[in-house]
Symmetry: C2
Subunit: 417 residues, 2 copies
């Protein structure tokens, strides 16, 4: 298909109105070239990249190299294969995607553990020793805060949805997602940081549903502390290690509560006394997991040369297309429908949501279900096409119109969705 | 070579006196068959399995399966490929090697993070809120204790080497290695646990240098809490996840300070309130790293059907042979020389230890160096042969006698050894 320049411009400026237009838009879409860097199953439309990203081919290749370094180099590979630098080297790759500077991001542990470390480190930055978490945040964020409060004697308060901003005037530590895991609502980072500065508070940002899909600029927004996972839009693999951001000008004043040897200034001096490493590296704890770090390093290749503004733009347009194509179903959604208020996914509600998701999976479209009635559909822009969205919505319409989702085989409860 | 039954019995009962005898002993040694399960570089004698074990072939195979499950099954593999159960399933495999029961071992996080969780959980078990660590322990154990004490307000005291036993009468929490990382001295676990019971204390055992090489029996010894790494004698790969043991009868009374969603009784219910999972699973925090867990699961295959008494016996005999073959060098050692007092490695001292280790590596024998002057040699019995020890000692003698280690190329400092 060839198009005139004016046709192309028109197509790029509005949502496609047919499968043919969607396919035409995919042809001129600047991120389209990245799709071939992924190992994707044929005949599957994967709307779950916000939960577990698919493997870039380079991830498998880099993992294979790490396995060979283990096999051939054995212990020597810590130096010879550069394993020792992986947590900071991969951190620097992620820093670009976050709008952070080199040396501000460390890959380590899980989001849960990193939230614990950062919230503990943030307490001395805050005027009062209390940790706030909004209702409706990812549950682990609240669990971690409560657990930390219990062993440190700090206070813990759950506040109403969106009440975190007000809480910042009270001088504590707020744990807050940039993109809500359920609604995909985007927080105004700079506004919150300004309120934190005015109120003598500190914020630990959870970037899990934001990194790799939004054009983040942590530096410009004044962010001091953040963490996030790498297995969603960063495609690092199931349970891939998390990362941790500490703004460089404050890192040397902060302490990790979990002082493992890899956070020591000289881990191999085996000093009796603890001396934290300079910068964000002091937040390392145990020996880094090399196989998963290598996999993640390979996975990040797909972002090379990619403009994050284009990523954010395309994610939103894919989501807008999904909402347009499913509007006739009349489903309620807790997600903002208006453009730049929403991250890379939408949640729609139906009392038979679980069964609908199962029926969709059987039809080759993968989304996920979040109790009690939420269906989440994610729009990872590096491997999804407009035509995929069009086709997925078409299959969904068939399932709803035919009532196929009422088949008893779709109704059994699952442990993980 | 064929031997009479009486020759075999004689050979099995004493150390070989020649390379030919060492080779003959290897032929009749019951663990010899396991060596072929490893991917080992040719022409290399690896005396560093106490630091990073070599890859069993099944580790690579299982990792490949996990990669394929990620690629083809994507999010569905959490259920369909059994990923969700890996932390407890692999934990049960390790439990047998520790003399623990099914359901008492969870694979998660790093030793550093697990020490933190267990020491925090142990404080309510102890009569006084103080954490003791002996001088000479692996430094991270002391760093973690001090960091935990600082944020909880508990006390922290470093006690003299071997003074942990006395400290147990004072009613605190003791973090203690079963096998010392430097000397390989073995602690009397049952004696310590009896003292802890009498003194109202609790012990968190670090099994890192013990698991996979000693015939541990945590149940019989009365152990309540333990953790250890899997990248040494368990061959799980560089930075492989650690494990955590909590005796089943006390697990439900304990709290992890790091309450991540995977430690919740129903992680996918997304409850606002935290409800810990039953048993040791409550000590899980973030999403488990599946690729490294799968690798570890494959690696553990080499222990299938292996008698840990034979493993411990062979490790000690390999170490005895090394000490006999290097006795003429007159090197001091902090390691117990007498049989069952020593784990799977020895540390010998020489002021040029760093250079000697480098010269040995150049000669195809890998040991490691621990500042300031310790040379560690490890005797992992599943892949080492008596003949390897004989040959390695021979190469060392040549290096010492010739003074080859004084070559300037061996003297530069390294960041990791």
């Amino acid at each position: 298909m060839t198009m005139s320049a004016s046709d192309s411009a028109a197509l790029a400026g509005r949502l496609p109105q047919s499968l043919a237009e969607a396919e035409a838009l995919d042809q001129i879409e600047p991120l389209q070239r990245v799709r071939s860097a992924f190992d994707l199953p044929p005949d599957l439309i994967y709307l779950d990249g916000h939960s577990l990203g698919p493997p870039p081919a380079a991830a498998r290749a880099r993992l294979g190299e790490a396995m060979t370094a283990w096999e051939r180099g054995l212990i020597r590979s810590w130096n010879d294969a550069g394993w020792i630098d992986l947590p900071t080297r991969v951190g620097d790759r992620i820093a670009r995607l976050l709008g952070a500077r080199e040396g501000e991001v460390l890959v380590c542990d899980s989001v849960s553990v990193n939230l614990f470390k950062l919230a503990a480190a943030a307490l001395p930055l805050a005027r009062t020793r209390v940790i706030h978490v909004e209702e409706g945040e990812f549950p682990t964020d609240a669990y971690i805060a409560a657990g930390l409060a219990e062993i440190t004697g700090a206070g813990y308060e759950q506040v109403a949805p969106e009440a975190g901003l007000d809480a910042l005037s009270r001088g504590g530590v707020l744990i807050k997602s940039v993109v809500n895991y359920r609604t995909a609502a985007i927080a105004d980072i700079a506004q919150h940081e300004a309120a934190a500065a005015a109120g003598g508070s500190a914020i630990v940002w959870d970037l899990s549903h934001a990194a790799g899909v939004l054009a983040l600029d942590l530096t410009a927004a004044g962010v001091r502390l953040a963490t996030g996972c790498t297995y969603k839009y960063l495609n690092g693999g199931p349970g891939a290690p998390a990362y941790l951001f500490v703004r460089s000008d404050i890192a040397d004043r902060l302490s990790s509560p979990i002082r493992g040897w890899f956070g020591h200034a000289a881990p191999f001096a085996f000093d009796r006394a603890y001396a934290p490493a300079p910068g964000v590296a002091r937040f390392a704890a145990g020996t880094p997991g090399i196989l998963s770090l290598a996999t993640l390093e390979g996975a990040l290749d797909v972002f090379d040369g990619v403009d994050m503004q284009q990523v954010e733009h395309k994610a939103r347009r894919l989501g807008d297309l999904w909402l347009a194509c499913t509007a006739h179903l009349g489903w309620p959604t807790a997600s903002p429908t208006g453009g730049n208020q929403r991250g890379g996914h939408v949640t729609q509600h139906h009392r038979d949501g679980y069964a609908i998701i199962q029926a969709l999976i059987a039809a080759g479209v993968i989304g996920d279900f979040r109790a009690p009635d939420g269906m989440r559909f994610g729009f990872a822009p590096l491997h999804l096409r407009y035509a995929d969205i069009w086709r997925a919505a078409g299959r969904l319409s068939v399932i709803i119109d035919s009532g196929a989702y009422r088949d008893p085989r779709y109704s059994k409860p699952a442990r993980v969705t």
